[in-house]
């Protein structure tokens, strides 16, 4: 199909998709939910909805952080490794007797440090984001394994571990954490100067520089946010599984990036939102949850996930072209 045909087709579908336009990805997610409600008896049980909210929460938070980086035109491959690594750190700190608040703050500061290191590598050493974050991905797993000697550190602090299981106002704490991260992220990205500058840097770094924007500072900001989000997820993971283990969260970076891209973020930068990645993460979580409930063979589950990713993104593309 030639581009002109594409344009024509887009024009034709404009009308039809104008309705869907308002629904967007949220509509797709709800559609999935309705379908699963018919297909299974247990999907809409309170219990399962809680589970679903819990299951999507961690990837959702990673995806939000990742989105900040992608908007600047970069990528952060290390988020999974940071999550695993910080789960070890917080476990060690808690086991050493530190109060929870201190352990949490120290862990988040460590996360910030990793993010700053990434930005340093990119800005000062001129390394491609892919390379520096791939290197920390490898190294952090190594360091985590080294200090634990490959073992798991159990967390005996029950207040800490119970947090991840409990609810507040009937909504799982883990999902509240998505809101706790998402709301400031939304304000920052869509309603603050820095958010604006993130887009500007991703769109045209030279133009941003000529406008007097501190481009390097913005890059530091983006990578720090991503790494802090990842270490925050490390805390949640440690609380949820009750241990610190350096090999956890393997491959979550790809899931986070996928959530972000499904949510409409462009890997070329300058396009993205906070709600998109959230929806992306919960769409992926719903696919898994639904497949489990419907007792789909786990091999089929992979195939279906792959196909659904294509279908969802394809329709999202169509809708956006039709806009």
């Amino acid at each position: 199909m030639s581009e002109s045909e594409e344009i024509k087709k887009a024009a034709l579908s404009r009308g039809r998709f104008n309705m869907l336009f308002g629904l967007t990805l949220l509509g797709l997610l709800l559609l999935l939910w309705v379908a699963l409600g018919f297909a299974t008896t247990s999907f809409w049980s309170a219990n399962n909805i809680s589970n679903l909210l819990r299951q999507g929460a961690m990837i959702a938070i990673l995806a939000i952080g990742q989105t900040f980086v992608i908007i600047t035109g970069g990528i952060d491959l290390s988020v999974g490794a940071i999550t695993g690594f910080t789960s070890v750190i917080v476990a060690l700190l808690l086991q050493s007797g530190l109060p929870i608040w201190a352990a949490v703050i120290l862990t988040l500061m460590l996360g910030a440090g990793i993010g700053i290191f990434h930005a340093f590598g990119i800005v000062q050493l001129g390394l491609p984001p892919f390379i520096i974050t791939l290197a920390t991905l490898t190294s952090l797993r190594g360091i985590g394994l080294l200090i634990t000697n490959g073992a798991t550190i159990s967390i005996t602090n029950d207040t800490f571990t119970e947090f991840s299981r409990n609810d507040f106002l009937g909504i799982p704490n883990l999902f509240w954490m998505v809101i706790v991260v998402g709301l400031p992220a939304w304000v920052l990205l869509h309603h603050s100067r820095f958010g604006r500058y993130l887009y500007a840097v991703g769109s045209n770094a030279e133009a941003a520089r000529l406008s007097g924007i501190n481009v390097k500072g913005i890059i530091y900001l983006a990578y720090t946010i991503s790494a802090v989000c990842a270490s925050f997820v490390g805390l949640l993971l440690a609380a949820r599984i009750g241990i610190g283990n350096a090999t956890q969260a393997e491959g979550w970076e790809l899931q986070a990036i996928a959530s972000s891209v499904i949510g409409g973020t462009s890997l070329f930068g300058a396009v993205g939102s906070v709600h998109g990645p959230l929806l992306g993460a919960f769409i992926l979580a719903t696919i898994n949850n639904g497949a489990n409930l419907m007792n789909v063979n786990s091999f089929w589950q992979r195939i279906i996930t792959g196909v659904l990713i294509i279908v969802i993104v394809y329709f999202d593309q169509l809708r956006r072209r039709g806009r």
Partner: protein, 301 residues
């Protein structure tokens, strides 16, 4: 309609992509057919994915099954979620333990014991060749941070220290789960340590990689390899003399008996609280035994 009346007992394994767990699932499937139970087959996509298994357990419980059969991926981490789940259903554990008192019954191969069996097998093979259980040996683990693999390593090392002081563990390698990595590590071990006499590759995929390296370098005569678990590739290696021995468990039985016990427990019958399904050393000498042959060639359907 018949299906609707059937009780549902999901089985949750550690890693659906590995052959070992497929045999467990096959056992469970067979039990489901024989006993009229609906058996959803669940599991994470990697033995290292603790969070994934917790989510699957939560999902399984919210489907209100008659009972749940689970092989906990990690001792500590699965403790609480299993306690939580046991509040609403009976939980039967298989293969590995968890930090929980809530199991109604438990069927396991002791992985630490499996590691000891491997050490014994390696010592025997080295003695047979060199006349004494002496010399350099190495250990290759497929992935870091996996409970069962760590237990095998632990049992192997403990047994070396306790019973075979002449066997020196000169290298303790952890790979990334890929056969090629096992192959490369083994080749490099052979290059760097010309006096190496034995290797324990502690799971299926590492044994395949290591076996290939032994075959490639034609050192089957001097370097004795012990693997863990089996498939036809490894059985061929064993009969060709590339591999000195395999530690095999009885995954089929674990799956079958797991469902059977769970069904009984769900009906309120009393069940045995602990069953050891055993770990056996298979060598070229005993691989023809009927019982062993059944273990080596489990029927999948």
């Amino acid at each position: 309609p018949a299906l609707a009346q059937q009780p549902t007992i999901p089985i949750i394994v550690k890693d659906t992509t590995s052959f070992y767990w497929q045999i467990v699932l096959a056992g469970a499937r067979a039990a489901g057919r024989d006993l009229g139970v609906n058996v959803p087959e669940l599991g994470a996509q990697s033995e290292a994915d603790i969070n994934g298994q917790i989510s699957i357990l939560e999902n399984a419980v919210s489907g209100a099954p008659a009972a749940v059969v689970i092989s906990p991926t990690e001792f500590q981490a699965l403790g609480r979620p299993i306690d939580e789940a046991a509040k609403s259903v009976k939980i039967i554990g298989i293969d590995s333990a968890a930090d929980s008192q809530s199991f109604t019954s438990f069927l396991t191969t002791d992985n630490v014991q499996g590691g000891r069996v491997a050490a014994d097998g390696l010592a025997a093979a080295i003695t047979e060749k060199y006349g004494a259980a002496e010399g350099e040996v190495a250990l290759i683990t497929a992935l870091p941070g996996v409970g069962s693999l760590d237990q095998r390593a632990q049992g192997f090392k403990e047994q070396l220290a306790a019973k075979y002081p002449g066997l020196k563990l000169i290298s303790d390698k952890v790979a990334d789960g890929q056969a090629t990595t096992g192959l490369n590590i083994t080749t490099d071990l052979l290059t760097a340590n010309p006096n190496l006499r034995g290797i324990f590759a502690s799971n299926l995929i590492m044994a395949q990689g290591a076996g290939q390296a032994i075959a490639e370098n034609k050192v089957a005569d001097t370097v004795k390899l012990i693997g863990f678990d089996s498939d036809d590739k490894l059985v061929k290696f064993l009969s060709d003399g590339v591999i000195a021995g395999l530690v095999v468990q009885d995954p089929f039985r674990m799956g079958y008996d797991g469902i059977k016990t769970a069904l009984a427990a769900s009906k309120g019958e009393t069940v045995e609280t602990f069953v050891d399904t055993g770990a056996n050393l298979v060598t070229k000498a005993n691989m023809g035994d009927e019982k062993i042959a059944a273990l080596l060639n489990p029927k999948l359907d």
